[in-house]
Point group: C2
Chain length 197, copies 2
DNA sequence: GCTTTGAACTAACAATTGTTAGTTTACATG
DNA sequence: CATGTAAACTAACAATTGTTAGTTCAAAGC
């Protein structure tokens, strides 16, 4: 979540939320501080009472999601589920986070390139590790013959992650479908194809 | 293709190519005319001897790819292949165009939002039609029981297209794999899961 | 009631943006 | 040689960018 005080939503959080929505719609570079300020009915300069820079907003949003994925992965790894169930749980994790972080999740498909360098490195490192851990689970599935030996797991991983990362884009115009059903369908479509029997 | 004269590559084409590479790496808004000019070792103002505006470059690149997809779809629809073979052929089409238009293909995942409005509408219309025609083929597969009835085809379509649109991003760091093998794997991974026996 | 503080404001900044106008240079054609 | 053209150049433009400094105002804490 984004809101520290439980009374009502803090101004800082409001800024993050508004920025996320705008970054999603127009992109980071095309979103001006004026745009963000307008969304909150204040002047651009007033934003700096709450945040230190535009870049800090992007950093906050991206590091936040990255952490959410990392911690979700950890929970799944440490569970006692078998490998296929772990894959299913990863699908659910992505659906979950997509619905929870509706706007800022969009940044991971492209806007992260505008992150600057102490944090860009951190973000990419975290992302690479996530993919590596995802791949490890796939490898164990293949080793135990749950995935056909002729499947190239690098391609399978990229394919699965593409769909899951792109989900945010598709979901907003199809809100009719329930979260449960969405997860069920994605497990079918993404996993059934690579799991024998 | 991008090069009209067959002698050597025209300046206009060089501009389109350089811009595509930069748009891909930094995004449309973050790429300045100076950036493009620097890539060609000329001054920014000199670009206007060959092109009329930055927006025109984006328009050219996007309409070009959209046309390539539309015409590829038409060829497949008019072929005498059965529906499953048509799906396989669509996968090949995407792989083909991804390798052919290495850079500008990247624009379709996000930078199209910066297209302005006579052309934005045209682009989106073309894209929607493409998806509709893709879906039609999927529906026929399901009607003839090649795809399980419990699969939601809207989700299946979005999932397939996500992987195929994202391919450009993955391919550059994995050039070791051949085009043939890549198509084969994607057909397996994307289609085998939704096609019965 | 005085003081502190949070949060808005105005004004200004230096830099960068896309683009235009006018000029110069190099080369090919007559 | 003279001329025309293609394509580079310089200089300048108006607008917008993110950000800083300094100020004002209202509410909270003492």
């Amino acid at each position: 979540m984004i809101d520290p005080p439980m009374t009502d939503i803090s101004k800082k959080s409001q800024i993050y939320n508004a920025a996320a929505r705008l970054f999603r719609k127009k992109g980071y570079k095309a979103t001006s501080m004026q745009d963000i300020a307008n969304a909150l009915d204040i002047k651009a300069a007033s934003l700096y009472n709450h945040i230190s820079s535009k870049q800090e907003i992007l950093k906050f949003l991206l590091i936040n999601i990255a952490d959410a994925f990392t911690s979700g992965m950890k929970d799944i790894e440490e569970s006692s589920l078998d490998d296929i169930e772990k894959l299913e749980q990863l699908v659910i994790l992505h659906v979950d986070l997509t619905l929870r972080y509706k706007d800022s999740i969009a940044l991971i498909t492209g806007e992260w390139v505008h992150l600057e360098n102490p944090y860009l490195d951190q973000y990419l490192k975290q992302r690479n590790q996530y993919e590596k851990r995802f791949l490890t689970i796939l490898k164990r599935c293949q080793k135990h013959s749950h995935i056909d030996a002729k499947i190239n797991l690098d391609i399978a991983l990229f394919s699965i992650l593409s769909s899951l990362h792109w989900l945010y884009n598709w979901y907003n115009k199809n809100k009719s479908i329930s979260k449960i059903e969405l997860s069920r369908q994605l497990k079918l479509i993404l996993l059934k194809g690579i799991i024998n029997i």
